[in-house]
């Protein structure tokens, strides 16, 4: 009798859960498309950390136009894939926050709508507008420009280094085993090595008026070979300045504990260094050649969904509200990344650290957003890691170039 009662209870409970599961599945199938069908409401997917910064602009916009703006905080790692998958089904948001190097993928999938900035295009930093443009069309309203720069422990080394060798010499003179750290890891990290590569005159792709040209792979040119040779000389069998055992955390630890005086990293790590009590100065990246070391610029911004039912409101909200100095400064406070609007960038540059990154960023080149870039990343770091660890630089570099070309041709 007791067993029977229990079994019924258990069966009932399981049935409830099962139906809940069913209802849950069914619900999630179609849970979020109500937003985009009703007019007068904009759904905006935002990086969770920036919801608060945008709330003011959203409220102001609602007050002026009566259009409700619904900010949905999303995990950065999922935003892009969710967006690409949901837009074709008619679901998904009207506006999504993202990075410019998504553009190739978003546009190839046909999920973003072109955006007309009109005359206001001139109000943004040129690199931000370049990055927002894909095949001659602007798709993104930029709000922040991000690039790496050299962080220096000003208590250990009071003067900026004039060149890469000078930097190592200064560090040695100060008695440091590892004067300079940069994030690498077993698979390499080409993003952080790119400034040195550009100093040798070896961009990944050639570029024209419409942006980067995927048919013009420049990676394997003579500059690239010189860079590879230099990289080998700074690796395991050389000065040891680069080490694939150093990942992001180890680099951070070395700099914040004062074991390293120079750290090549982005604004996202400045907070950790300042919190650790380091007297941080931001320098241009010391070049190994006479040319400037140009890092990649990553631009963040907002895209309008191709399937949005509220394109007019979405355009109006982005161009006329997010594109204002106040909102760009609010977003700046949330992320401490240089605003894309020139006026806001100037205001933000009163902070010496932001100004330091902005100075380096003036030389930065937009990270290529073309889909062919995906074929580069997957071989690039591995080749660089191999060179750092003692592989023959020129041969490895040539293999890299031919692998990338083959992958682009196949893909």
């Amino acid at each position: 009798m007791r067993v029977n009662r229990k079994s019924l209870l258990a069966a009932g409970a399981v049935a409830v859960v099962a139906t809940l599961g069913l209802a849950g599945c069914a619900g999630s199938d179609s849970g979020s498309d109500a937003e985009s069908t009703t007019s007068g409401k904009l759904t905006v997917w935002v990086d969770s950390e920036r919801v608060d910064a945008l709330q003011g602009a959203a409220d102001a916009y609602t007050e002026k136009t009566g259009v409700k703006v619904d900010l949905v905080g999303k995990d950065v790692a999922d935003i892009k894939d969710d967006f690409i998958q949901q837009v074709p089904t008619g679901k998904g948001p009207d506006i999504v926050m993202g990075a410019h190097d998504w553009l190739g993928e978003l546009s190839t999938n046909g999920v973003v709508a072109p955006l007309e900035l009109g005359d206001s295009a001139g109000d943004y930093l040129p690199v931000a507008i370049d990055a927002s443009t894909y095949e001659g069309t602007v798709y993104m309203l930029p709000y922040a420009v991000e690039n790496i720069a050299m962080l220096r422990n000003a208590d250990l080394i009071p003067e900026p280094a004039s060149s890469f060798d000078d930097m190592l010499a200064k560090g040695k003179a100060a008695g440091l085993d590892h004067p300079f750290v940069v994030e690498q890891g077993a698979e390499g990290n080409p993003y952080h090595l790119y400034p040195f590569q550009t100093a040798f005159g070896a961009p990944v792709f050639g570029s024209g008026a419409e942006g980067y040209n995927p048919d013009d792979l420049q990676l394997g040119n003579t500059g690239g070979e010189q860079f590879a040779t230099w990289l080998g000389s700074q690796g395991k069998n050389g000065t040891g300045a680069f080490n694939t055992d150093i990942d992001g955390d180890i680099a951070k630890e070395a700099f914040t504990s004062g074991k390293a005086a120079f750290w090549l990293t982005g604004p996202w790590n400045v907070g950790a260094a300042v919190d650790a009590g380091i007297n941080v100065a931001i320098d241009p990246i010391p070049s190994p050649t006479s040319e400037a070391a140009q890092p990649f610029a990553g631009v963040k911004g907002f895209f309008v969904s191709a399937e949005s039912k509220n394109k007019v409101a979405a355009n109006d909200f982005l161009v006329n509200y997010i594109g204002t100095e106040d909102v760009q400064l609010e977003l700046f406070k949330a992320g401490n990344v240089l605003p894309a609007l020139t006026a806001a960038a100037e205001t933000a540059s009163s902070d010496p650290i932001v100004a330091g990154f902005a100075t380096v960023g003036a030389d930065a080149v937009p990270m290529p957003a073309i889909p062919a870039m995906g074929q580069v990343w997957q071989y690039w770091g591995i080749a660089e890691a191999a060179i750092i660890n003692g592989a023959d630089p020129v041969a490895t570099w040539q293999k890299l170039a031919s692998d990338v070309q083959a992958a682009i041709d196949a893909g």
């Binding site: 069913l22 069914a26 007019v312």
Partner: protein, 542 residues
Amino acid sequence: MSTATDDVREDAPPKAPKPTKQQRRAASIADQASGGIKMLLIKIVALGIVDALALFAVFVLISHEQWLVTGVVVAVTALVNWIYFSRRKLPAKYLTPGVIFLVVFQVFVLGYTAYIAFTNYGTGHNGTKEQAVSSLMASSLERVPDSPTYGVTVVERGDELGLLVTDPDGEALVGTNEEPLHEASGAQFDGDVAVSADGWTSLKFADVLARTDEVTALAVPYSDDPNDGAIRTPDGSKGYLYTSTLEYDAEAGTMTDLSTGTVYSDTGVGAFTAEDGTKLLPGWQITVGFDNFVRAITDTRLSGPLVYVTLWTFAFALLSVATTFFLGLFLAIVFNDMRMRGRKYYRTLMILPYAIPSFLSALVWAGMMNQSFGFINQVLLGGADIPWLTDPWLAKVSILLVNLWLGFPYMFLVCMGALQSIPEDIQEAATVDGAKPWAVFRLIKLPLLLVTVAPLLIASFAFNFNNFNTIYMLTDGGPRDANAPIPVGFTDILITMVYKVAFTGQTRDYGLASAYSIIIFIVVAVISIIAFRRTKSLEELN
């Protein structure tokens, strides 16, 4: 329920004759007598909750016009009610929840994966043809270089929308989709921008928003010559002059590039394709038959790595099962020995790895095995320089070691339970007959143990065959095979290789990934079936 029905169930041999009418009546009387009002209440409340949830789901589904799913939910709910209110559906009462879970989480997922494997779903083939056309048309619009910004007001005449455009000279012009811009009569200005004209009603911003689709479709020809372009307004207050570089011919189903004259047509590959094979992207989703499977097996860039990745996958899965099983068994035997003191504490310690999420511990291990900074080299081995994760062979050993650490507690638990269920007297009898301990273990204990454990070993093999977490978190497949034309490493197993092939970079290929998943599924299923057949022979020992 009743003891009577239970008795019927328990006593009845598999092919028992149907209960007679009298027996059934007796059973139902007993059922009513023993069920009690409390049971009935609980049953009604539980089913009430189920029905309420189903009703809620139905309303939500209807509001989204998901008719098929609605039908399924209604049918399943009705079935559940019928089964639990019926008096004589005891087996169904136990089976239904499991079957529902099976369908939702296994059959549906498998079916959907199979469906995707036959499509070209992936980057550039993401939606329908209509979406591809509209997206291509939208991106083919180019603003006329150096053209000014026009102030615009959206106006209406009858049901027709038009644009009231103020050109840079301050002149007011009006036009519609059919009617090119011409001078507007009686224009009223607010500042520099014309806001109303005779014969037209001006739309308020809220009206513009409500008719967004019509407003975004508005393209007012600048003049009679279509090459001059058309004025469009993205935000309802400013207009720009655009020309289009593509022309869509809906009847012929072709896209024409107006600048080069190239004609792109639908050749059945899911994208507008020119004669020389260039595709316009985005394309759309189509079913491609067995193309993905053919590609999965014949792609020349993949076939080389595929061979050794497959070999390593088998080696990894087999060795993982073998090492964890024997270590677990050894420890179980040791801790099962009465002479061992403090067994309880040791057992707790043994289970510890089991309590930490495997992907977390894999990451921790990756840190500890770092060549120059890792705990193992620096502290345990006094500054040794062992490339745990960067040497092809050592990386394989490291993976097996970490997987051993992650997996032995499970085998330890399983073996301990199985060992305790083997009767002591068997061992005693063998000892009396003069058998040595090793012979007792090898000839008596191990076979008996395997009867219970073998199915779990097969399941464990299937799990390790697809053990994505450990590989991804520990080495990410590395060290990379620099000679392979695809980004594959020496410790990649099939599932991580598939992940890299289908999802690295900016190109996703869900179709190809699904085809691979299905191939892997078939491999695992075949091996499991063969293995289960063979373990049946073990059961004859009992």
